[in-house]
C-alpha cells in the first residue's frame, strides 16, 4: 500500500463504514471528531481519536503523521463543513491526498474547487447502484463480486516495469486472453495520471514504461501475467 497512515474526519454512519473498511489497512489510523459524543463513540469502537474544530491550524497532524504517506477522508455531516475542512487542510498541506464525501453534484464541484483529490457524490453513487441493480442485475452482482477482495476474480492495476518485454509493443500485438487468460480493460498512458482509456475503444496503444494496465482475471493468471511482464521477478 502506498499510504501508511489515514485520518477519517467525522464519525457519522458514513464515516463509521469508511473506518470499518479501511482502518486495518493502515499502520497508523485516527478518527478526528468535532464533539465529545462522537469521540466517546469512536473510542468505544476501539479507534484512536482526536478532537478538532474547523479553526485548527493542524499542528497535531504534522506532529503525529508522516505527511508523505498520509491520506485523509472528509466525512463530516454537512457538505459545507466538508468543503471548509478540505480548503483548510489544502491551505496547509499542499500535497496531501484528500478524499471527501459530497451530498450531490453541486457540493462535489465545490469540494473539487476546494482542493479535494477525489470526491464521492453520495446521491449519484446510490442512484447508480439502484438503477444498476434493477436494470443490469447480473452485471451489478458480478462487478460487486469482482471488487470484493475475497472473490476469485479480481480487478488489478499493473504498472509496466523497467525491462519488461511488452515495452515498445502495441497493446493488440498481444492476445491477452489466449496467452494469459486475463482481460485488459483499460490502459493509463503515463505514471501518476488517472486518465485512462478503455481498450474496447479499439485504439491500439504503444506500451511504454510505467504505463498502467487495468486487468481482470483470477489470482493465478494475474500472478502469471505479473511474472511474464516482469512485475514479479
Amino acid at each position: 500500500m502506498k499510504y501508511q497512515s489515514a485520518i477519517v474526519f467525522g464519525f457519522n454512519e458514513y464515516a463509521k463504514q469508511i473506518v470499518f473498511q479501511i482502518s486495518e489497512a493502515y499502520l497508523s489510523f485516527c478518527v478526528f471528531v468535532m464533539n465529545e459524543e462522537e469521540r466517546l463513540s469512536a473510542q468505544a469502537a476501539g479507534y484512536d481519536t482526536e478532537l478538532f474544530d474547523l479553526s485548527e491550524n493542524w499542528k497535531s497532524i504534522e506532529k503525529r503523521f508522516d505527511l508523505n504517506s498520509l491520506v485523509v477522508f472528509c466525512a463530516l455531516d454537512k457538505d459545507a463543513e466538508n468543503v471548509f475542512l478540505t480548503i483548510s487542510l489544502r491551505s496547509v498541506f499542499w500535497h496531501l491526498p484528500i478524499i471527501a464525501l459530497a451530498g450531490d453534484h453541486e457540493s462535489a464541484r465545490k469540494l473539487k474547487n476546494a482542493g479535494a483529490n477525489k470526491v464521492m457524490p453520495i446521491l449519484q453513487i446510490t442512484a447508480n447502484m439502484i438503477s444498476g441493480m434493477l436494470e443490469k442485475p447480473i452485471v451489478t452482482k458480478v462487478m460487486r463480486d469482482i471488487i470484493d477482495e475475497n472473490s476469485p476474480i479480481k480487478i488489478v492495476q499493473i504498472t509496466v516495469p523497467l525491462d519488461s518485454y511488452i515495452i515498445g509493443k502495441q497493446l493488440f500485438d498481444i492476445d491477452w486472453t489466449k496467452e494469459y487468460n486475463v482481460i485488459v480493460l483499460a490502459v493509463v498512458d503515463h505514471e501518476g495520471s488517472t486518465r485512462f482509456s478503455f481498450t474496447a475503444h479499439g485504439h491500439n496503444h504503444h506500451i511504454d514504461l510505467h504505463d498502467i494496465l487495468v486487468v481482470v482475471g483470477d489470482d493465478e493468471n494475474i500472478l502469471g501475467l505479473s511474472k511474464a511482464i516482469g512485475v514479479i521477478k
Partner: protein
C-alpha cells in the same frame, strides 16, 4: 308460496357461477373504465349515435333509403333498449336484497315478507330509473316507439348519450355540478329580470302600432335575447318607456354574463388539480411497463432521471403536495398518493404483474419503507421491491417485510473508499462502465441454448474481436460466474453473457445473435 319461489330463485341465482360471470361481464363492459374491452363498446355506441344523427339531418332535405330509416328506427333503438335494460339489471343486486330480507325475517322468526322485499328492490331500482342519464337513455329509445315526424327530435337525445361514453364531457358536467348553488342563483336572478322586463316591455309596447312586440311571448323572447347580450334586432322597443326598460335589462345582462363566466372559470380553476390528477391516473393505467418510486427525495430525483434517460417509465407516489408539484415541475409523472395505503394502488387501477417492473422505496424512514413494502406485498407476492436502508439495525426488518433488494448507501461508500485507496484507477474504470462518461458500457446479454452457438461464433468475428470484451458468462442454475468462458461452456435458458464495448458495437452484436430465426 310466491315468497318461497322468490327466495329459491334468489339463492339459485346467487349460487350460479354463470349468472355471476355474465353480470360481472356486463358490469365491466358498461361501467368499468379499466376493463380493456369497454372502450370498444363505447366507440361502437358513439358510432351508432353519429350515424343516427346523420340520418336525422340528411332526412330534413333529402330522401333517405328505407333500409337506413329501418336501421335507425329499429336496429339502433333495439341496441339502445338492450343497453338500457342491462344497465337497469347491473345497477344493483336484486338477489342480495331478497336474501338479506329473507335472513332478516328468519332471524326475527317471522314469515318472509316478499312484498316488502319487492318494495325495496323497486325503491332501489328507481334510483336508476330517475337518474338523469337513465332518462336520457330512455328518451333516446323513443324513435323506436314513434315514427311520427315530430318525435324524431328525440333522436337528439342520443347526442346526450355521448356523455356516457366520453370522459371529458362527463368531467365538464361534474365540474359545473360543483357550482350548483351559484348556477341556481344565477338562473333565479336571470329569470326574475326576464319576467319583470318582459311584462314591462309588454305593457309599454304591446298597444303601440309601431312596435313589433304584440304578445307576451314576443316580450319574453325579446327579454331573453337582450339579457344574454345577443340582440338580434328583430324586436326593438320603440317607446321611450320601452327603451328605458331595454337599458335596465342591458345592464342586468352584463351582470348575468359576468356572473356566468366567473362561475365557470372558478369551477374549472378549483377542479384543475383534480382533473390533472385524474388524467395522470388514466395515463398511468395505460402504461405497459414502469417502475414505481415511493417517496420523492433528492435521491429519488437522481434515480428517476437515470431511468428516464435509459427510456424507462417511472411513476412517483408522494403524499406531500409540495414535493409532488416539485417533481411535476421537472416533468416527472408524480401522483399525490400515499404509497403505504392500499387504497392508493386501487385508485391507480394497475395490474402489478403485467405493468410494474419493480417498486423502489426511497422514503427517508425505514418505518415507512417497511410499512409500504407490507402494503405492496398484500397486492403482489412476486413483484420486485428495492429499498434503501436508512439505519443499519433495521436491515433484518426490511428483509422480513418482503423487500427483495436492499441498498445501504453508507456501506457502499465504505467499500468504495477502500477501493479508492487500493486501486483508484481500477475503481474509476468500474465506475465509468456504469455511467456513459467514456462511451464504453457493460451490458448483460441473456442467452439460451439456441443463441449459444451464434454468440461464440459472432464474438470471434473481426468486427468484434478485441473490441467487444466478453468478461464472462453468468450461469443462473448454479449462481456462478464463468470468467473468460470457452465455446464449450454449456448454456441454459436464463444464463447471461457480460460484455464490455461501445454502445454501437454492443447493439450490433445483439442484433447479430438475436437475428430472426435465432431466438
Amino acid at each position: 308460496m310466491i315468497g318461497r319461489w322468490i327466495v329459491g330463485l334468489a339463492f339459485f341465482l346467487q349460487a350460479s357461477m354463470r349468472y355471476r360471470h355474465t353480470k360481472r361481464f356486463f358490469h365491466n363492459l358498461l361501467e368499468n373504465p379499466a376493463y380493456p374491452y369497454k372502450k370498444f363498446f363505447d366507440y361502437m355506441m358513439i358510432l351508432l349515435i353519429i350515424v343516427s344523427v346523420y340520418i336525422l339531418i340528411r332526412h330534413v332535405k333529402h330522401e333517405v333509403n328505407n333500409q337506413w330509416i329501418y336501421f335507425n328506427n329499429y336496429i339502433i333503438s333495439i341496441i339502445f333498449l338492450i343497453e338500457y335494460v342491462l344497465r337497469f339489471w347491473i345497477y344493483s343486486d336484486m338477489t342480495k336484497i331478497v336474501t338479506e330480507q329473507y335472513e332478516h325475517d328468519l332471524f326475527l322468526q317471522r314469515p318472509f315478507r316478499w312484498k316488502w322485499a319487492l318494495h325495496l328492490i323497486l325503491k332501489n331500482k328507481a334510483g336508476y330509473l330517475f337518474s338523469i342519464s337513465a332518462i336520457i337513455d330512455l328518451l333516446a329509445i323513443m324513435p323506436f316507439f314513434h315514427e311520427l315526424r315530430m318525435l324524431r327530435i328525440f333522436i337528439l337525445f342520443r347526442v346526450f348519450k355521448l356523455f356516457r361514453y366520453t370522459k371529458s364531457l362527463t368531467q365538464f358536467i361534474s365540474i359545473l355540478s360543483s357550482k350548483k348553488f351559484e348556477i341556481f342563483t344565477l338562473l333565479v336572478f336571470a329569470s326574475v329580470i326576464i319576467v319583470v322586463s318582459a311584462i314591462l316591455i309588454y305593457i309599454m309596447e304591446a298597444n303601440n302600432p309601431e312596435s313589433r312586440i304584440h304578445t307576451l311571448f314576443d316580450a319574453v323572447y325579446w327579454a331573453v335575447v337582450t339579457i344574454f347580450t345577443v340582440g338580434y334586432g328583430d324586436f326593438v322597443p320603440v317607446t321611450d318607456e320601452g327603451r328605458m326598460v331595454a337599458m335596465v335589462i342591458i345592464f342586468a345582462g352584463i351582470a348575468v354574463i359576468s356572473f356566468a363566466t366567473s362561475i365557470v372559470v372558478s369551477a374549472f380553476t378549483e377542479k384543475l388539480d383534480e382533473i390533472k390528477e385524474d388524467k395522470l391516473v388514466d395515463d398511468v393505467s395505460k402504461l405497459s411497463r414502469f417502475y414505481i418510486v415511493c417517496g420523492y427525495t433528492p435521491l429519488a430525483r437522481e434515480v428517476v432521471e437515470r431511468f428516464i434517460k435509459s427510456g424507462k417509465k417511472v411513476v412517483i407516489l408522494e403524499k406531500d403536495i409540495s414535493k409532488v408539484h416539485e417533481a411535476q415541475k421537472i416533468g416527472f409523472m408524480a401522483l399525490l398518493l400515499d404509497s403505504s395505503s392500499l387504497s392508493s394502488y386501487h385508485t391507480l387501477k394497475i395490474d402489478f404483474k403485467r405493468q410494474v417492473e419493480a417498486v423502489i422505496l426511497l422514503q427517508e424512514s425505514d418505518v415507512l419503507n417497511v410499512y409500504t413494502a407490507l402494503t405492496i406485498r398484500e397486492i403482489s407476492n412476486h413483484i420486485k421491491i428495492l429499498s434503501i436502508l436508512n439505519q443499519l439495525e433495521n436491515r433484518r426488518k426490511l428483509l422480513l417485510a418482503g423487500i427483495s433488494e436492499i441498498v445501504y448507501t453508507q456501506e457502499l461508500i465504505g467499500l468504495m473508499s477502500k477501493q479508492e485507496i487500493g486501486k483508484p484507477i481500477a475503481f474509476e474504470v468500474i465506475n465509468a462502465l456504469y455511467t456513459d462518461k467514456k462511451g464504453v458500457f457493460i451490458e448483460e446479454i441473456i442467452l439460451d441454448a439456441k443463441t449459444r452457438t451464434r454468440f461464440f461464433e459472432t464474438v470471434t468475428q473481426p468486427l468484434f474481436h478485441k473490441r467487444l470484451l466478453v468478461l464472462g458468462i453468468y450461469t443462473a442454475f448454479n449462481d456462478k460466474f464463468q470468467f473468460n468462458p470457452s465455446s464449450e461452456l454449456e448454456i441454459r435458458s436464463g444464463d447471461a453473457a457480460i460484455v464490455i464495448g461501445t454502445a454501437a458495437l454492443i447493439d450490433e452484436f445483439k442484433a447479430m445473435i438475436y437475428k430472426k430465426g435465432n431466438r
